[in-house]
């Protein structure tokens, strides 16, 4: 990984140790103080130039290497993502705006992301469009020429372009209750293929016609929401990229997330913490469970090495669908398998003092979150389809 990456890891651990409480389980809990902790931490990262490390220098980043970016992903996820909802803006909204945004959009949106001041949500999934995203129904209907868009986003209206009225429903929208902006995908026309005629809009969540309804769920508050759009006005200045060509942007967005969350890092941190959290109780565990614990540590290493292979190829400008899909399948299964092993230890850990109880709460949080890992960010079935396609094409 190099000395720079190692030093960065040390710096991040020091910052986490100094500014994140030991019992922090993420920004999105019942306790609003956790969100404040995350917001403060983002500010600290931004002050030290660590929040948008991967971004090019011209947009306020440090052009960090693939390996430095990996260290950030590992350390943040391992410590329950103290960047809160910021990672979405940092990881893919910002990069998408850099590539496809107008200078005005870049001026407006990128600086607040680099300062950690804004939360974005992703308006992609719909009740009938999950893995089959291109089947979405949210429609942007062109507005008659005499109807003015409301001007949000500094609209500079062109002759003959009256903007659109967007209506539809989004679902599973993380952070929609607190987000200031939405990266919204809607249908602007019908093409020969369903991937055609889709457009990305950058829409403020405060705009008239947007209603957010939280969905109570086992993962915790703020994670899942419904977003209803009722004739929400959007103008040409809200369009990211080209009208009707949004699918290209979506594919790029998904490519930014190619390696995705470094789930193996949290799994390993919790597994490695188990013996000291259990103290003398460790020896009371069944030998078979300790064997499974050892096996899960092997699976953590396996997932990490699979990720590193994808990253090594990426750093050479190469993309391997087989390796990428294999990694994502391995890491999401690891998340769930390790959660089962840890949950078997959590009961005993509760008897092992304050540290044990803290460990037990972290394990329960991990188990709840892990249930979604084979569904979120592209289901495991989609990864299997991609892997099978690549494998069979190679034969």
């Amino acid at each position: 990984m190099g000395e720079g990456a190692t030093a960065l890891r040390g710096q991040l651990r020091t910052m986490v140790g100094e500014h994140i409480p030991a019992d922090f389980l993420g920004a999105f809990t019942e306790d609003p103080a956790d969100l404040e902790i995350a917001q403060r931490f983002c500010g600290l990262l931004a002050d030290r130039g660590l929040l948008c490390l991967a971004w090019p220098e011209e947009f306020g980043g440090r052009s960090a290497s693939v390996w430095e970016q990996t260290v950030v992903r590992e350390e943040m996820w391992a410590h329950h993502e103290p960047r809160g909802g910021q990672y979405m803006g940092i990881n893919w909204v910002g990069p998408a705006i850099m590539r496809h945004g107008t200078p005005e959009q870049q001026r407006r949106h990128l600086p607040p992301i680099t300062r950690g001041e804004v939360i974005w949500c992703q308006g992609f999934s719909e009740p009938d469009a999950g893995s089959d995203l291109a089947s979405l129904r949210t429609a942007a209907r062109p507005v008659e020429a005499d109807v003015q868009p409301d001007g949000e986003g500094g609209t500079a209206r062109q002759a003959g372009d009256g903007g659109w009225l967007v209506s539809g429903q989004k679902i599973w929208t993380s952070y929609a209750t607190m987000a200031q902006w939405c990266f919204l995908l809607a249908r602007t026309s019908r093409g020969a293929r369903k991937q055609q005629g889709l457009t990305i809009f950058l829409v403020p969540m405060s705009r008239a016609g947007i209603e957010v309804r939280p969905i109570r769920c086992m993962i915790g508050p703020h994670h899942l929401n419904e977003v209803f759009l009722d004739e929400v006005r959007v103008g040409p200045a809200d369009v990211l990229g080209t009208v009707d060509d949004g699918w290209k942007v979506v594919q790029e967005v998904l490519a930014f997330e190619r390696v995705g969350i470094a789930r193996y890092a949290r799994c390993e941190r919790l597994l490695q913490a188990a013996p000291s959290a259990l103290g003398d109780r460790w020896d009371d565990l069944p030998a078979e469970l300790r064997g499974r614990w050892a096996g899960m540590l092997v699976h953590c290493r396996r997932a990490r090495l699979l990720a590193y292979r994808v990253l090594a190829l990426q750093s050479q400008g190469r993309v391997s669908p087989v390796d990428t899909a294999a990694y994502r399948i391995a890491v999401t299964k690891l998340d769930q398998d390790s959660a089962e092993v840890l949950m078997e230890m959590a009961g005993l850990a509760r008897l092992a003092g304050a540290g044990g109880r803290r460990f037990s709460r972290a394990v329960q949080d991990h188990w709840r979150y892990a249930q979604a890992s084979t569904v979120a960010s592209g289901s495991i079935e989609m990864q299997r389809i991609l892997l099978a396609r690549a494998l069979l094409a190679a034969s």
Partner: protein, 312 residues
């Protein structure tokens, strides 16, 4: 950490695979089963021609990688010869090869070979080993012979690590082949008017197998690096690799058999041979449960070296 194999080692492995194919390929194990005494005569010269016995895996990273690549190629053809065991021969003891063994019934797939063996346990106890006469034909024994041991010393911890890692590379070659065979089969075999590969249930099984195989490949490279760069961790890393390799073998061979259907049990299909001759590697010196238990003992409370092994 280095998880890339050198270009030279990769190329050496490729050449070895071609040379073994030219020497008989799939037929080699079939010939050996018919006439066990011929395997030394048929296989050993090909390996000598590849410079196998000049390799010094103990001392040089490049030669260690070449040895691993050779083992992988041998596994691809289910080569009926203890290549990994011979390449693991310990320095300082006059022997042709090394066998990792476990009580109470030390044994290894080295029957009918006139070679001098040193045996080592996972805890590093070394012995001279002599094969006992065979009581069953190779079709049932897969060349596994019981061993009679005469203790030498307790200095074999490093030997044990190498002796565990290289056979995992052989097993990796077998997994490569099992997936190649299965992929080819589901592409050509037609049912209900379409290739088996068109069925999602078939595709998903194949992906499960490939995820396991590719994971073993990464851990195998890591364990190789660890042997020379991180000797204190080498034994734990070798056991970690073995555990993953045994788990993967279970999945890969199960999927391969299932997707081949009845034809996979027939000797005219190479899967039948590959599957049977993978057994000694998967059961000796320690099977899946015993390997997991041994790894757990080895790690204790320390865990496996990784991102958070120092932060406990």
């Amino acid at each position: 950490m280095n998880i890339e194999l050198s270009r030279e080692a990769t190329e050496y492995g490729r050449q070895a695979r071609r040379a073994l194919e030219a020497a008989g390929g799939d037929r080699l194990v079939q010939l050996a089963e018919e006439e066990p005494e011929r395997r030394e005569k048929v296989v050993a010269p090909v390996l000598a021609g590849l410079g196998a016995w000049e390799l010094n895996p103990c001392g040089d990273a490049g030669e260690l990688e070449a040895a691993a690549a050779l083992c992988r190629s041998a596994g691809y053809w289910a080569l009926p010869y203890p290549v990994a065991e011979r390449l693991s021969r310990p320095a300082g003891l006059d022997a042709d090869g090394l066998l990792v063994v476990a009580a109470p019934a030390p044994s290894a797939p080295v029957a009918d070979l006139d070679l001098r063996w040193v045996a080592v346990t996972v805890s590093g106890e070394r012995s001279r080993a002599v094969t006992l006469p065979q009581t069953s034909p190779p079709r049932h024994s897969a060349f596994v012979a019981e061993l009679e041991l005469s203790p030498v010393d307790g200095d074999g911890a490093a030997d044990a690590a190498l002796g565990l890692v290289l056979p995992c590379w052989t097993l990796l070659g077998m997994l490569d082949r099992a997936i190649d065979l299965t992929r080819a089969h589901v592409t050509v075999r037609t049912q209900f008017g379409q290739p088996l590969a068109a069925f999602q249930g078939v595709q998903f099984q194949l992906t499960d197998a490939e995820v396991e195989r590719s994971g073993v490949e990464m851990l195998a490279r890591y364990a190789l690096w660890s042997l020379l760069a991180s000797p204190a961790d080498a034994l734990a890393d070798a056991l970690a690799l073995r555990l993953a390799a045994l788990e993967a073998a279970q999945t890969v061979f199960r999927v391969a058999h299932q997707l081949h259907g009845a034809t996979g049990f027939c000797d005219e299909t190479f899967l039948s041979w590959l599957s049977r001759y993978s057994q000694p590697l998967r059961r000796l010196p320690l099977g899946l449960s015993a390997t997991r238990e041994q790894l757990g003992r080895q790690l204790g409370r320390r865990g496996l070296t990784g991102l958070f092994s120092e932060a406990r």
